[in-house]
C-alpha cells in the first residue's frame, strides 16, 4: 500500500488565502457544490452516450469496451455540442442576466398592468 491517500489529497486546499466573490460566503459554497454536481452529471451523461454508441455498434456493452471507447471526430463533435448545450441550460439564468444588461430599462408587469388599465 502506498502512503498516499488520494481521496484526501485530491481535494486539498492550495496555499494562499482564498478569495471569495459573493457577499455571503454560503452562497458561494452552495454554488461550488452545485457546480461539482453539474460536473458529475456531465460525466454520467457522457458515459451514457458511450454506452448507447457501443450498443448501436456492437449490440452489447462491457465495462472494458466503455474504457477503451474513442469517439471519431464527428462523434466527438456531437458530444462536444451536447456538452455545450448542457452547460448553456444549466447556466441559463446568467445568460439572461447578461441579456438584461444590454436591453436597457424594461417595464415590469405591474407597470404594464397599470398601463393596460388606463382608460384615458
Amino acid at each position: 500500500m502506498s502512503d498516499i491517500d488520494p481521496l484526501k489529497l485530491a481535494g486539498a486546499k492550495a496555499k494562499g488565502k482564498r478569495p471569495w466573490f459573493f457577499e455571503d460566503a454560503d452562497v458561494e459554497r452552495v454554488m461550488n457544490i452545485t457546480l461539482a454536481l453539474m460536473q458529475e452529471v456531465a460525466v454520467v451523461r457522457e458515459r451514457l452516450d458511450t454506452v448507447e454508441r457501443l450498443l448501436e455498434r456492437d449490440g452489447a456493452v462491457t465495462r472494458e469496451a466503455i474504457e477503451s471507447y474513442t469517439p471519431s471526430k464527428s462523434e466527438a463533435d456531437e458530444r462536444g455540442l451536447m456538452m455545450q448545450e448542457y452547460i448553456a441550460r444549466c447556466l441559463r439564468i446568467l445568460q439572461q442576466d447578461r441579456e438584461a444588461l444590454t436591453r436597457g430599462k424594461e417595464a415590469s408587469s405591474e407597470e404594464v398592468a397599470d398601463e393596460f388599465a388606463r382608460t384615458d
Binding site: 489529497l9 478569495p19 474504457e67 462536444g80 444588461l101
Partner: protein
Amino acid sequence: MADTQHGPSGDISYDGPPDYRAVGRHGVYPETSHDEIARFNFLAQMNRHLSTKLMPGVSEAFETRIEPKRETAYETRHQVRKDLVKDPLFQWWSALRRATMENRQQAGRWVTLRQAEALNAKVHELTDGDPRLKLDPDFTLPRGVCAIDHHCMPGSYHFENTPGDITGPANYDAGIFATTGGMLGRFNDGGGVAVAEWVKKNLGADFKPKRILDLGAGLGHNVLPLAEAFPNAEIIAVDAAGPMLRYGLARAKTMGIENVTFIQGDVASLSQFEDESFDWVQSTMFLHETSYKTMPMIFAETQRLLKPGGIVLHVEQPQYSQDMPLFEQAMRDWDAFYNNEPFWTKMHEIDLDDWMVKAGFAKDDLIHGGVAAIVDPDIFPSAAEDTEQEDYGRKAAWHVIGARKSA
C-alpha cells in the same frame, strides 16, 4: 461540418475543445478512465463557456452600469477592479472561474494520486542514474516558488508526497488541457513550437545555436520543441522544482527527445555555468513567477551567459502599456489576484525594455515580436484564428521581448 448533422443538436456546427482523447500520450502520461476523461472534457467546455459566453458580459456590465456610475475618470486598473468586484456579473463569472480551477485541480490530482506508486516507479526507472537529471539535495527553494501555490495547485511545482514523487507535475500535465480548452495543442507545446518557428523565420538561417538554456523550464512543455527544431544543439533546462525536472526527463525520453539535460537551480544565480557559454537563452511563461528582486539578477545572468551575438527571448503575455485600456488591464489581473499568480500584476506593469537595458543590453539590440500557439488545426482550436475567445491573460498568444548581445 456536414458530419455533425445527425446529432441531437440538429445542424449546428461544432466549435470548441476536442475530446480529451486527442491529447498526446507520452510514455509517462497518467492513465485516465472513461469518467476521468469525461470530467476533463466538462472542465474544458466549462472554461470555454466562461470565456466566450459569460466573460463578454463583464465588459458589457462595465460599459452599461459600472463606468457610467463613476464620477471621475479611472486613473488606475486597480480602481477599475475595485468597482468590478462589486458587480454581480463579475462576481458570478469569477466565482465560477475559481471553482472550475479548483475542480480541475481536484480532478487531475485524483487521477495522478490514485496511481502514484505505479507512475513514480515508471519515472524512477527512466531517470535514476541518468546523467541528464541533475538534482541538488541541498537546494533551497526561492521564495517566489513556495510563498503561494501557483494557480491553485496544491503543493505547487515542488512538493513531493514521498521522496522523488512526481504526481504534482503529472497533474499539471494531465489537466492543462482543461484549463486552456485544448488551445495549446496535442502535447501542450503549441507555444514552444511557435517560438521555434519564430526564431527560424526571424533570426535567419545562419542562426544555428549549439547550446540553448531554458529558464524555468518546468516539465519541459515548451523546451522540447526547441530541442526538436535544433536536434544537434545541447539544451539545458533549469528549474527550481525537482519533481518537474524528473518528470520532464522521463517525458522527453519517452517522446524520443534525447538532447535535453534537466538541472535543478535558481536561475537568479547560475554560477555553475561559464561566462559566454550559450547561444540562446529562452524563458517561456516564466517571468511572471519571479519578483522585482530576482528579475534584474536573472537579466544580468542572461547577459553574462550569452556568447557575443547570442540571443535571449522572453515569451509572456503582453505588458500593460499606456495604450491598453484600464478595463483590459484589470481583467488581465484576474489570475494575479484570484488564481494565485501574485507577481503577475507587478511584472506586467513595468517597462521591460528599460529593465533589459539596465541589465546591459543595448537599446538598439532589443528584439520584439509576437507568437500564437501552433497546433494541429484539424483537431485543436487555433488561437491565431480564434477571434471569439479573448480570455485575456489565458489566450494562447504571447509577446516576445528579447535582445541580441552585441558582438
